[in-house]
């Protein structure tokens, strides 16, 4: 293009080019500044987690660059130490997994079903049900803890069985936001596809399974990631619904470390990183899916 001179357009493109370069410069500058502000605190924590205890307590992590001293003791202590004062995080790690996986599967399925009904079936009061579910987002979870515990007393759940409670609780609490988000995607699916299937005599159950589900798989994946992050990072629900020190998840343990060990930065930093690592891997590996999921949701037919 540049080899073909277009005299008339020349001044405009020149200005355009300058402006473009300018905006792309400011754009890069802005993005760089934001990216920096958003990463540096975590980076500081990450570097600190490898520094010896004495260093962490006496000077800032940026001194690492001039005086690099690396130790794995903090991780050793937090992951595999067996005394109560160490983290023993490996066990809590498994607990977190056992708690999280079903707590993601159930809400995704139930929210998808509900969102479908609210978007594509016709019945009286449909909008009211949707608004009511949406409004339930504001019910403070704290206020739901005691009644839910009382509800579980009907069943005799013991030991490992108590995991069922926390799955149930997380599923309940996820529904308002899940239905809200999925309904947004679902209602923007092209209506003619569903109408066509209806005309062909397909049942709603079949349309959901064979037409809608494949289309919203990416959206479901996105919601699943969010739900995964919320459950993995939850403290409050876990504190109440997983009694017994043997089944508490990572966050509870990390909070305990933070509480008793106000000044043990070396353990807190490494402990925090152990808890971050899985959500980070999940996010990074599903990221592409994630963006596409939201993309598919917002395409209008």
């Amino acid at each position: 293009m540049s080899t073909v001179p277009v005299p008339v357009a020349e001044p405009a493109t020149a200005v355009g080019r300058v402006r473009k370069r300018l905006t792309s410069r400011t754009a890069s500058a802005i993005s760089l500044v934001i990216a920096l502000i958003w990463t540096v605190p975590t980076l500081g924590l990450f570097i600190s987690s490898f520094r010896p205890e004495a260093d962490i307590k006496t000077n800032g992590w940026w001194n690492f660059f001039t005086d690099p001293k690396v130790t794995l003791d903090n991780y050793q202590d937090v992951l595999f130490g067996t005394s109560g004062s160490s983290g023993r995080l490996a066990t809590y790690f498994i607990n977190s997994l056992v708690i999280t996986i079903p707590s993601v599967l159930f809400p995704v399925a139930f929210c998808a079903l509900a969102a479908y009904a609210l978007a594509w079936t016709k019945f009286k009061g449909r909008d009211w049900i949707y608004v009511a579910i949406f409004a339930l987002q504001i019910v403070p979870i704290q206020m739901a803890l005691v009644p839910l515990l009382q509800f579980f007393n009907i069943f005799a759940l013991e030991d490992e069985g108590s995991f069922v409670q926390i799955w149930f609780a997380h599923t309940c609490f996820a529904i308002p936001l899940g239905v809200f988000l999925l309904h947004n995607f679902m209602s923007e699916l092209p209506g003619d596809i569903i109408e066509a299937a209806r005309v062909d005599g397909a049942s709603h159950a079949r349309i959901f399974r064979q037409v809608v589900l494949p289309l919203i798989v990416p959206a479901l994946a996105s919601f699943a990631i969010f739900q995964f992050l919320w459950v993995w990072n939850d403290l409050l629900v876990a504190l109440v619904f997983v009694p017994g020190a043997d089944s508490t998840p990572l966050t509870v343990r990390l909070a305990e470390l933070a509480g008793t060990r106000g000044n043990d930065w070396q353990r807190l930093t490494s402990g925090a990183f152990v808890s971050i690592i899985i959500p980070l891997i999940v996010f990074l590996s599903l990221q592409r899916y994630f963006v596409r999921g939201l993309l598919a949701g917002s395409v209008k037919g």
């Binding site: 803890l145 064979q210 504190l239 009694p243 909070a255 933070a258 060990r261």
Partner: protein, 448 residues
């Protein structure tokens, strides 16, 4: 297409049903044998018939202390065959209520606040001590201690561990180098503070009251310790019972006296910063400047010994030690402020009562004392079993009949005040709020 999906679904459902049935059939085989006939179990022969049973305990003790505690009842478990399921949590105070309200009360809780014991007892949630536990408790603990867990004439629990709060931490070496003497009266304490401040090298006092959700408690301890000295135990009791209001001139006088140290820029905050820095310094770190040679005095309980780094020698001739926070008028006796936790039961099954009885016994107190880092008001504790000098000193003070012991007042008050506005307002007081305004606010919050 549809039929294959359907078939697949049917198959899945079938497998799932099978798996769930298998899960439901998983039976337990509890061992029901005890080892009481063995010679090493002679001490536990009174606790028979509880083998194979499980007792759950929920408390706020965790970390190293939790390990030692579990170790202290290990023999009891092995000999009697009972299983103690202990859970320690930093959120104990909030979660115990959630669990009790939700119908999931633990069998036993170690409650550090008599106010909370009263709350659950009045709500009908707690069971009074069984006969055996009650006898053991009255045998080993003074009536003063038991009254804190007595509601409407019924005894609900015996103390487990205790602590003495009326201590001032110092560095014996620093004192020796500067030729300072350990103050034995309030006037001497103030004279010493002035000497140190006038020396210009360092400020005398350091403090830290930040403690997460509980921020402020060390400041309430200061207030109580001084109120006990400034106004005497009678006023203290009336204040706790709220017959003397929180903003009474007597209380204002005591808080102002605490302020003459804590809010005196010439005195604090040695090695850390200005007066306000007390509010943002973790209580765990409040006394550490003593080790660094930057601070001379730090008023904190006996358990503060655990906060010094490993290898610190806590002894009269060591790196750090503590002296008794002196009385203002020695003629009125030796005021001692302290605390402890009470072993209360939400259940009264025989095995629960047996565990309560054992935890009240001198045998347990001595077993636990031998493991170190522990203070108990149990009269049966043999001083020879208490190795740590600061613990020994605490036990001596607790067993000394001239001590006028009072329980931490904030733990005796209703939760809204004791672990609410009192902490909150004392923190605000440190950061600049006027004494009267702070105490007025606490008074206004007292539940009607």
């Amino acid at each position: 297409m549809a039929s294959t999906t359907q078939r697949r679904i049917y198959a899945l459902v079938g497998v799932a049903a099978l798996a769930l049935t298998a899960a439901a059939c998983k039976g337990g085989d509890g061992t029901t044998n005890d080892n009481l006939s063995k010679p090493e179990c002679a001490a536990f022969k009174d606790y028979s018939g509880i083998a194979g049973k499980k007792v759950t305990i929920y408390a706020s003790i965790r970390d190293t202390e939790e390990d030692l505690l579990k170790q202290s009842w290990k023999d009891f478990e092995n000999c009697t065959g009972v299983k103690i399921d202990y859970e320690g949590s930093g959120e104990f105070e909030t979660q115990v209520k959630v669990r009790v309200d939700g119908g999931r009360a633990p069998d036993i809780a170690f409650v550090p606040q008599p106010g909370v014991v009263e709350y659950f007892a009045k709500g009908g949630k707690l069971k009074p001590l069984g006969d055996k536990a009650k006898t053991t408790a009255t045998q080993n603990y003074s009536a003063d201690w038991l009254k804190y867990a007595t509601v409407d004439g019924k005894v609900y629990g015996a103390p487990l561990g205790s602590n003495v709060k009326s201590f001032v931490w110092y560095s014996p070496k620093m004192f020796k180098d500067n030729n300072w003497k350990i103050p034995t009266s309030w006037d001497e304490l103030i004279t010493l503070s002035n000497t140190i401040a006038a020396g210009g090298k360092l400020k005398p006092w350091c403090a830290g009251i930040e403690s997460g959700v509980a921020t402020g408690w060390p400041a309430t301890d200061w207030t109580e310790d001084i109120l006990l000295r400034d106004q005497g135990p009678q006023v203290y009791d009336q204040w706790v019972a709220h017959t003397v209001p929180f903003n009474d001139p007597k209380i204002i006088s005591a808080v102002d006296r605490a302020g003459s140290i804590l809010k005196n820029p010439a005195y604090v905050n040695a090695g850390i910063g200005d007066v306000k820095s007390i509010a943002t310094t973790a209580f765990q770190e409040g006394g550490l400047p003593i080790l660094a040679g930057k601070c001379a005095l730090h008023r904190q309980a006996s358990f503060y010994a655990n906060q010094f780094p490993k290898g610190t020698k806590v002894a009269e001739d060591g790196d750090v030690f503590a002296f008794y926070f002196p009385a203002i008028d020695a003629a009125k006796g030796k005021p001692v402020l302290g605390g402890g936790e009470f072993v209360v039961g939400f259940a009264d099954r025989p095995e629960v009562q047996a565990v309560q009885a054992y935890l009240a016994s001198a045998h347990h107190a001595n077993t636990r004392a031998k493991l170190g880092n522990w203070v108990s008001a149990n009269k049966g504790v043999d001083l020879a079993n208490v190795a740590n000098p600061i613990d020994k000193k605490s036990v001596q003070i607790l067993q000394d009949s001239s001590s006028v012991f009072r329980f931490d007042g904030s733990d005796l008050m209703p939760a809204a005040v004791g672990s609410g506005t009192f902490w909150k307002e004392m923190t605000a007081w440190i950061t600049g709020k006027d004494t009267k305004a702070a105490l007025d606010a606490i008074e206004a919050s007292w539940p009607k």
